[in-house]
């Protein structure tokens, strides 16, 4: 079966869980090159999202994603709020009215979500931001689509690409976001936003491993 409404809901729940678990880890990464709040911000936002679950549990995937986006925008703040908010709003636009998603749909979703993030934050590849995790993840999906890879494998490859992208931020000198103030001192640290992006995409791969 393709990714169903319930699967989408489960993914959001899984995001909430994994971000709560990694709250201190993300904050620690942000303390090194930022302001020590990324974990708390994401956790606060997804806690608010989980509180909204009852309202959206019978809605279409577009409404689900849009609600997640709106909730993140009004509860996260900082850079993460508008960026992840836009990510889910864009995902919601591409899935308006939909009750299930194929691999090709998911590619369209991630591509639109990433474009939203880039449009909002104006970061380029190599700026040491979440874009450095999201872009290879999107590209991996595209390659998987072209290679007719199965959905679970494609999701795994996408998450793996995000992980590599995330690790790839370590040597980078930040040009966007708070880490950019540190100049050369930002090198040698993993970007917190790239890390939360990886966690979210990994949660998708884990949650949807039985989808086809």
């Amino acid at each position: 079966m393709p990714i169903a409404r319930e699967d989408a809901l489960n993914w959001i729940k899984a995001c909430g869980k994994v971000l709560a678990e990694n709250r201190d880890y993300l904050t620690q990464l942000d303390a090194a090159i930022g302001d020590a709040d990324h974990g708390a911000n994401m956790d606060r936002g997804f806690k608010a999202v989980l509180n909204k679950m009852p309202e959206i549990s019978d809605k279409d995937i577009g409404t689900i994603f849009k609600t997640v986006g709106m909730t993140l925008i009004s509860t996260v703040g900082g850079a993460g709020g508008p960026l992840y908010g836009t990510f889910f709003l864009q995902a919601g636009m591409k899935t308006a009215g939909k009750m299930e998603l194929t691999l090709s749909d998911w590619y369209t979703v991630l591509d639109a979500a990433l474009s939203g993030v880039v449009m909002r934050g104006k970061a380029e590849l190599g700026d040491k931001t979440m874009v450095d995790a999201l872009t290879p993840a999107r590209d991996a999906l595209k390659a998987a689509l072209e290679n007719h890879t199965s959905l679970p494998t494609a999701l795994e490859q996408s998450a793996e690409a995000a992980r590599e992208g995330m690790e790839g931020t370590i040597p980078m000198v930040a040009r966007k976001g708070r880490a950019s103030y540190l100049g050369e001192r930002s090198a040698g640290h993993q970007d917190p936003g790239a890390t939360s992006s990886y966690l979210i995409l990994k949660a998708a791969a884990d949650t949807w491993s039985a989808c086809t």
């Binding site: 303390a31 925008i73 509860t75 703040g77 850079a79 709020g81 960026l83 040009r175 103030y181 001192r185």
Partner: protein, 333 residues
């Protein structure tokens, strides 16, 4: 972590509750979304000046709400910029029909959240102008990066623009004035200790007993470089040099000199810093015609200081001297 707080999650809300009972004559507090606004808002025909940012910088911004300064301020979580709905609701609450100026510090999060709020407010038919403050010379300015941070000049811009709005200048005039203040202000800061974000519970960075951070911002982020602690006079030289060599001060010009405590540095030390900063400015031929000395834009309990210089002209001097009545800044009334 030792702080006079209850639960880390309640810090901002309880602070707002304290402000509400402490200054009912000056300000009111709105919760969910939370913002502090002038008790007499909206003021018909007056441009409203509002700002916002993460909490932990008190008295900025909530302490600057009142006559002659801000009409509203939106506090985010500690060191986290507020959300668009806070800025939107505050904008709606204080708009007196003459438009609203958003004073935004140059941080990616603040910029994006405030942009969204401005778009939504414009959608509701409110005229909004946003001016971004980016005065921190510790950060290299560049088209390819997030640019300079907004720090000490923000306080001065809020005072000066608030006074201009009080004179019933138009939104465009107040916004242009704000851009002028930003163009004429430069800041740099340093830390002797880290601060501790309440929900983190431990210092953001470890700083050995004999080291300091130079070129810090106001969010507990490490600075541009770490070095051995030096005598105050040398530290002041390290901060003043980049400020003065940057545009736009020329010998003979008048300046405002603002020596700020990052929160944990007491006044006795600030005057030692001021003494040297004044000496350096004077030696460079600058005339210090106004000053501000105290904890006005802080980073929780961080020990350290920042110095801001603002070039002054007759208009700015008059606006600076104009009456202000807020919990955090008051004179002339």
């Amino acid at each position: 972590m030792k702080k006079l707080i209850n639960q880390a999650a309640d810090v901002v809300r309880e602070e707002l509750e304290g402000i509400a009972v402490a200054h009912p004559d000056l300000v009111k507090v709105h919760y969910d979304p939370s913002f502090v606004y002038r008790a007499d808002a909206p003021i018909k025909g007056k441009v409203a000046v509002i700002s916002g940012g993460g909490s932990g910088h008190e008295p900025m911004h909530g302490g600057f709400v009142g006559l002659g300064m801000l009409d509203a301020a939106c506090p985010g979580a500690v060191f986290t910029s507020p959300t668009p709905d806070q800025m939107l609701e505050a904008t709606k609450k204080v708009d007196g029909g003459a438009g609203v100026l958003h004073i935004v510090k140059n941080y990616t999060g603040d910029i994006m959240n405030f942009e969204m709020a401005a778009d939504l407010a414009r959608g509701d038919g409110i005229e909004v102008e946003a001016v971004v403050i980016d005065d921190d010379v510790a950060v290299k300015d560049s088209l390819y990066t997030a640019g300079r941070r907004g720090v000490g000049t923000t306080v001065l811009a809020e005072k000066i623009c608030g006074a201009a709005a009080e004179q019933r200048r138009s939104l465009k005039e107040v916004a242009d004035l704000c851009r002028k203040v930003n163009g004429w202000g430069r800041s740099m800061g340093m830390a002797l200790t880290s601060c501790t974000v309440p929900h983190v519970g431990k210092p953001t960075f470890d700083l050995p007993e004999d080291e300091m951070e130079i070129g810090i911002g106001i969010h507990g982020e490490p600075g541009r470089m770490r070095m051995k602690v030096k005598p105050a006079d040398e530290i002041v030289e390290m901060l003043m040099e980049p400020i003065i060599t940057d545009i736009p001060y020329k010998p003979g010009e008048e300046v405002l000199l603002f020596v700020n405590s990052m929160g944990g540095t007491p006044q006795i030390e600030l005057y030692i810093v001021y003494r040297k900063a004044y000496e350096i400015a004077t030696k460079k031929g600058l005339k210090v015609v106004r000053n501000l000395i105290g904890p006005y834009i802080t980073s929780l309990e961080m020990a350290g200081t920042s110095i801001t210089m603002l070039k002054m002209d007759e208009d700015l001097k008059k606006l600076w001297d104009a009456p202000v009545k807020t919990p955090g800044l008051r004179w002339g009334i």
